[in-house]
Amino acid sequence: MSRLINSKSATGTQATRVLGLLAIVVMLWVVVSGLVFTPQDVVQGESVRIMYVHVPSAWIAYLAFILTAVASASWLIGKKHSMGFDRFAGASAEVGVMFMAITLLTGSLWGRLTWGEFWQWDPRLTTTAFLFVTYLGYLAVRRLDGSAEQRARRSAIMALLAVLEIPLVHFSVVIWRSLHQGATVLNPSGDVKLDDLMLFTLFSGVVGFTLVFFWLVLHRQRTMLLVDVVNSRGLDAAIADRRAEAGN
C-alpha cells in the first residue's frame, strides 16, 4: 500500500499523494462501514448497503458534468482560450462517464433487489441513462480528428448543448410518467429511515468519492497535457523532416 502511494508517478505531486492517501482511507472506511458496521434497513434489508456506493457515484457524475460545462464555458469566454480548461473539461467528462456507468450498474442491481426488476422507467433513472449516452457522444466528438483548438471549440459547444438538453429530457420524462400512469416506483430514498451511522457512512461516501474524483481528474488532465506535448514534439520532428524535403 505505502509503495503504491510513495512510488513516484509521472503526474503526481505532494498534493496528489496526500489527496490519494486521504481518498484511500475514507474509501476503506466506507467499504468496511457500509458492508459490516451499518445495520440493515427495515424496508430495504441488506440492499441498502448498495446505496453507500450508488448515491455518491451518482452525485459525483452530476458534479463532473457540471464542472465540464463550467470549464467549457470558461474556455469559450476566455480571451486566451486556455487549453487547461479544455483538458479539465475532457478529464472531468471521462471520469463522469465512468461514475455514471457505476451509478447505472449499482442502481440496477439495487433495483433488482428492491423492486424485483433491473430497470424501471423512473424519471430520474431515465434522465441519467440519457445523460450517460449524451456524454458518450461528447467523448466521441472529442476524439474526432482536427487541431487542438478545433477539438476544444467543438467539445466546449457540445458540453453546453448538453446543458440545454438535460432539462428538456428530464422535464419531458417527468411529465411522461406522471401523466400516463401513477407512480409505480418507490421513491428511492423516501422510504428509508437512516440512523446516524448510516447517514455518516453515506456522507463519508460522498466525501470519499469526491476525493477520488479530484485525484483522477488531476492525473487524467496532466496525462492529457503530456500526450499533447508529446504530439507537438512529434510536430517539431515532422517540421524538420518536412524542411529536409526541400533541401534535395
Partner: protein
C-alpha cells in the same frame, strides 16, 4: 496598403502533418503571384490558410491586414478561393449555382450576366445541370461564382486544370482584368509556361517551404 499577404516562419498543420513547415513570403497589392512546385509541396495548404480556412500553428500570418492567428474569420469575406473542388451543387443548373451565390452576396442580375459572359458560358449552357457539364465547363462555372463574389484577394488552386485553350485564354484575361480592378491574385499551377506569362512574380514551394523562384 501595399502588403496583402505577409507570412513569417508560418507553420500550418493539416491532419497532424506540417504541410507548410515554415513559410516566409509576402505579396503586394496588385500582383499576380504564381506558386510553383511538385504535388504535395504544400501549395494547396498555403492557399487554404491564406483564405482563413486553416489555423496557423506557429509563426506569423497576416492577410489583408488581418492577423490570421487571432482572427481567421474576418478575412474570409474578402477573399475568393477556388480549390481542387468547385463547390458547385450537382443537381442545380449553371444559372442556379451562380444565382445562389449572387443572392448570398447581394449581387444583381447584371453581375450574373457579366460573370457568365466573362467565363464564356453561353445561354444554352446556363440551363444545364452541373452534373451534365464537362470538367472544363464546371471550372468556368465555379470561376463565374467567384467573379460574382468580387473578392479583393483571389486564391486559385490549379485554375487552368480541365480548361481548353480558349478557356485558358479567357481565364488569363479575367485574372488580368480582376487585377486591373484592384484585386490581387495568388495561384498555383503546373503549367509553368502559361503561368509565368501571366504572373508578375513567382515563388517556389517545396517541402512545405516557400522560396524565390
Amino acid at each position: 496598403m501595399s502588403e496583402v499577404i505577409s507570412f513569417v516562419d508560418t507553420v500550418i498543420v493539416y491532419d497532424n502533418f506540417p504541410a507548410v513547415a515554415g513559410a516566409t513570403f509576402s505579396v503586394a497589392s496588385g500582383e499576380i503571384v504564381l506558386l510553383q512546385g511538385p504535388n504535395g509541396a504544400g501549395k494547396t495548404t498555403l492557399l487554404r490558410a491564406c483564405a482563413g480556412l486553416l489555423p496557423i500553428a506557429r509563426g506569423k500570418a497576416t492577410v489583408l491586414g488581418v492577423d490570421l492567428k487571432s482572427d481567421r474569420a474576418t478575412v474570409r469575406s474578402q477573399v475568393g478561393m477556388l480549390g481542387h473542388s468547385n463547390g458547385l451543387y450537382q443537381d442545380l443548373t449553371v444559372a442556379e449555382n451562380i444565382g445562389f451565390w449572387s443572392r448570398l452576396v447581394g449581387a444583381g442580375n447584371d453581375d450574373i450576366a457579366q460573370a457568365m459572359r466573362l467565363m464564356g458560358l453561353s445561354e444554352r449552357l446556363s440551363e444545364v445541370k452541373v452534373s451534365n457539364l464537362s470538367a472544363g465547363q464546371r471550372r468556368r462555372c465555379a470561376l463565374a461564382t467567384l467573379i460574382v463574389r468580387r473578392a479583393r484577394l483571389w486564391l486559385l488552386d490549379e485554375p487552368h486544370a480541365g480548361l481548353d485553350a480558349d478557356g485558358r485564354d479567357e481565364l488569363d484575361k479575367t485574372l488580368r482584368s480582376a487585377r486591373d480592378a484592384g484585386a490581387t491574385v495568388v495561384f498555383a499551377s503546373h503549367e509553368i509556361e502559361r503561368a509565368k506569362a501571366l504572373a508578375t512574380r513567382s515563388f517556389k514551394v517545396e517541402g512545405g517551404v516557400v522560396g524565390e523562384a
